[in-house]
Symmetry: C2
Subunit: 326 residues, 2 copies
Amino acid sequence: MTVRIGILGYGNLGKGVELAIRQNDDMELAAVYTRRDPATVKIATEGVAVRTVADLDTGNEPIDVLIICGGSATDLPEQTPKYAALYNVVDSFDTHARIPEHFANVNAAATGANNVALISCGWDPGLFSLNRLFGNCFIPEGKDYTFWGKGISQGHSDALRRIPGVADAKQYTIPVPEALEAARSGQNPELTTRQKHTRECWVVLEEGADPEAIREQIVTMPNYFDEYDVTVNFISQEELDRDHAAMPHGGFVLRSGQMASGDTSVIEYSLKLDSNPNFTSSVLVSYARAVARLAAEGSTGAKTVFDIAPAYLSPFDGDYLRAHML
Amino acid sequence: MTVRIGILGYGNLGKGVELAIRQNDDMELAAVYTRRDPATVKIATEGVAVRTVADLDTGNEPIDVLIICGGSATDLPEQTPKYAALYNVVDSFDTHARIPEHFANVNAAATGANNVALISCGWDPGLFSLNRLFGNCFIPEGKDYTFWGKGISQGHSDALRRIPGVADAKQYTIPVPEALEAARSGQNPELTTRQKHTRECWVVLEEGADPEAIREQIVTMPNYFDEYDVTVNFISQEELDRDHAAMPHGGFVLRSGQMASGDTSVIEYSLKLDSNPNFTSSVLVSYARAVARLAAEGSTGAKTVFDIAPAYLSPFDGDYLRAHML
């Protein structure tokens, strides 16, 4: 079975999905859908159409799964329910607090149309979520730790760029090595926000801006920076473009606790990614395979990574998986 | 729903399952089944019967899932198909090369009886297998690394004890730190058997045995030791009992490779376990919950961890999991 993928939105994530499909022989890119004028969007794959988002409205596009590559703030809450009523879909909705509401909306749309809709896929939410769930099952009495980084936080970079006088900026979230070691120790330490992560800012000033005033605004910014140890570095636009254009990320999920016997167990899962969007895309493509298979079996409704048996993700069949990976 | 668990075999693993049930409020121990005289087996749980293995033959024991805690060499190939024809079962069959054959035998028995039978559960095979599968999906072009330890290898300890002149022995498998770092680097190094692990032996000699002759026999033993750097320490039985009675284990599964874009991704999963059997038991109990639920839904046949959606493992429902762990 070849899975025909549609990509909605051609930003970093959409471009990553396009590339990830090339590493999966049983998947093919059917079309890219854009809100821009399709004539202005040049994609990396020859012979594949760029179409307008309005073309999706018929529900008749020749795709098995639509991977929706929009943003969580405004795009996905609208797009995913809309297109789940027309196609099988996958999204990477990552506003943790709004997941229950998003799930309910998407589930109503997908169930009514007999489609499968996987929400909140990627690595967090996604693979990190799986490891939180597994950890809580296997170590029922314990503590969870999630560390992010070292990596670029889009939200914190955006917050820096909204400060008047800041021309451009990137922010790295960095786990504190001592906190990571403490979590690994199995001693179940209590760790504060400040103890777990530091934040490193690379800021390009507009002409005439006062660096000390801006530094003060950054380190006192509520929610984003005030609870952290923050370093602020001022550099030129050329330096920012040269040294901070990549999108690395990653992190750690740990669960530690005591078995009923009193013995300690520690589970650790980590990712080290040169490119956050390219790895996330690869996860989305694997889960799109699972969605196509579940839909072919007659499954319907909204799903999360918790609902997908791992074998559905793989291009290999059960015999192969048992012989080679079990 | 309360899941009533039967335990077949009351060794380290069976005892661990008994304890693990105490950390799961929705599970209860129904009975322990033994091949010994039940009157001679004292279990840790008051008010629960120890029964003879023959009592299982009716198929009428009041249990939802039987966790079979026998050995992979001779017990499980016989027991799991036999009891899968009578009950839902879970085993921890870990002879990797014979898994396809075991699966086929168990599947025939379970399917014919409309039972669910999960084989090869635990951490390797089991959780490590899941991470091999996930890693191969998300990084299709890459390399796998599995490291074991630091921990007691039962098979290697047994091999030492079979040497004439050896009264008792324990063997630790130890990952080589430099090899682990190389695997983490994302450079996809080729690592030989000798480069990946060292083996550390703690040996009690029988009176009059020649230590140098026994050391030579150990380090040249084919399959077990000849391809490794081995250290052999001779100690007294008292020292062995005092310092090497615990059963720690653990290990690392890594997958590293390049996305289609050329960016490198590294996934690492690791376990650090004070007690191998007690953690393994906790994994078996979580999967027994999944087996009970699958059976209640009408599923039948042999399964592996690849076939179980993660949500089935948790005592919490979908709403809770999405709100708290996604």
